[in-house]
Each structure stands twice: as C-alpha cells, then as structure tokens.
C-alpha cells in the first residue's frame, strides 16, 4: 500500500538555527496535511497543501508541495524553544477510503 516516508527521524538544532523535515512518496500524493505535536500533547493541524508546487507560509514556517506531488517539506527559520515537538505529514489518500497515510514524524530538539 501507499507509504509516506518522512525524514529525518530526529533533528537537533541550536536555538536560532533552521529546521527542515521532508516527506516523500513513490506514488503521487493527494493532499498533504502537516501537524505538530508538542511533548505530552496531541497532534494539532498546521496546514494543508493541495496544488502542485504550492508554497504556503505561516510566520517562520514555510510549507512546500513538490511539482510532481511526490514530496513535501516543512522549513522553520530561526527556531525557537516554542517550536520543539514532533512534526508529522499525512496524505489524504483516496485509495485508502480517505484514510490519512501518516509519516513517522520528525522530532525537533533544541540543544541546551
């Protein structure tokens, strides 16, 4: 079945450095949703990308959908302690009865 590969599993950064997580698929993605889960919390929806090549920004966060709709990325500029958590991508797959196919998540860790 369809899989969404998300890398890296972890990223350690100094506060103020940038962070990027990538989601890739061998098949065409339908729509990508991004979620953030703070430590001890539950996933919270950030944004949805629908169109090929789409770029959306939320303050220091930039979300991109690849031209071929086979990859997506989330980039955070100048990380802050409030950015700590795990970032998940998910594809809304029509092939799976509209199930969300989740990436494994990337954990953002700020070095002390």
């Amino acid at each position: 079945g369809q899989q969404v590969m998300q890398i890296p599993q972890y990223q350690h950064v100094q506060e103020g450095e940038d962070f990027t997580t990538y989601c890739n698929s061998s098949t065409t993605l339908s729509n990508i949703q991004w979620y953030k889960q703070r430590p001890g919390g539950h996933p919270v929806f950030l944004i949805q990308l629908v169109k090929s090549g789409e770029v959306k920004k939320q303050k220091r966060l930039t979300f991109q959908f690849g031209e071929a709709k086979k990859n997506s990325s989330l980039h955070i500029t100048a990380t802050q302690t409030t950015d700590v958590g795990t970032y998940f991508c998910a594809d809304t797959s029509m092939d799976s009865n509209y199930q969300l196919i989740w990436g494994a998540g990337t954990k953002l860790i700020i070095k002390p």
Partner: protein, 114 residues
C-alpha cells in the same frame, strides 16, 4: 466551541481486565478515528468511522479490540483481556467530512496495563 473530548485521561488496569475508552467528537463531524501512540512513536491507525458507512477496522491489532459509534456521535473503544503491550496513549480524532478536512484530536487516554 468544544473540541474532541476523551475520557478517562488516564487509566491504570491490571493485565487481563477489560477497559472502555470514550470519545466525544466535535458536534457535526461525520468522521471519527482512533489511533494508538506508544511513547516516542508515530500514530498507529486503529479504526475509522464515516457517517453511516461500515467502519474501517483494518488497523485493529487483534480481536481483543473493538469499537462502536452510537448515533453517529460518541465512540467507545473496548479492549478485552488487556495485555502489557496494550499500554499506550489512545487518541481519538474527528473531522468534518471524508475528504481533506483536517483532523481534530482529543487529549488522549493514557492506558497503563500492570
């Protein structure tokens, strides 16, 4: 407005006992999902309800797990004869319809089987 409500927030049970976890979705949301998340891990899909359609039970790990959704609203996840490997956070989420709507998660139920 009210979000997704799950109860209890924490549950400690002895191995072999049955447990029921409850999820009250956002009013009007037709889709309801149950996920399981072990410590530091990703989201493991368990079951999906959409309106009046037959639920997608493909993620249930064994026949000890079952779920119901009554009246298209509240859902109960039941785990019979709990095992230690069932210990995890059980997350419920709802969404407005079957296509592309974002999921709204509850705070989860942390289940510990001793």
């Amino acid at each position: 407005g009210a979000g997704v409500s799950q109860s209890p927030s924490n549950k400690v049970t002895e191995k072999g006992k049955d447990v029921e976890l409850r999820c009250d979705p956002i009013s009007g949301h037709t889709a309801l999902y149950w996920y399981r998340q072990s410590l530091g891990q990703g989201l493991e899909f368990l079951i999906y309800f959409q309106g009046n359609s037959a639920p997608d039970k493909s993620g249930l790990p064994s026949d000890r797990f079952s779920a119901e959704r009554t009246g298209g609203s509240v859902s109960t996840l039941t785990i019979q004869r709990t095992q230690q490997e069932d210990s995890a956070v059980y997350l419920c989420a709802s969404s407005a319809d079957r296509t592309n709507s974002p999921l709204h998660f509850g705070n989860g139920t942390r289940l510990t089987v001793t």
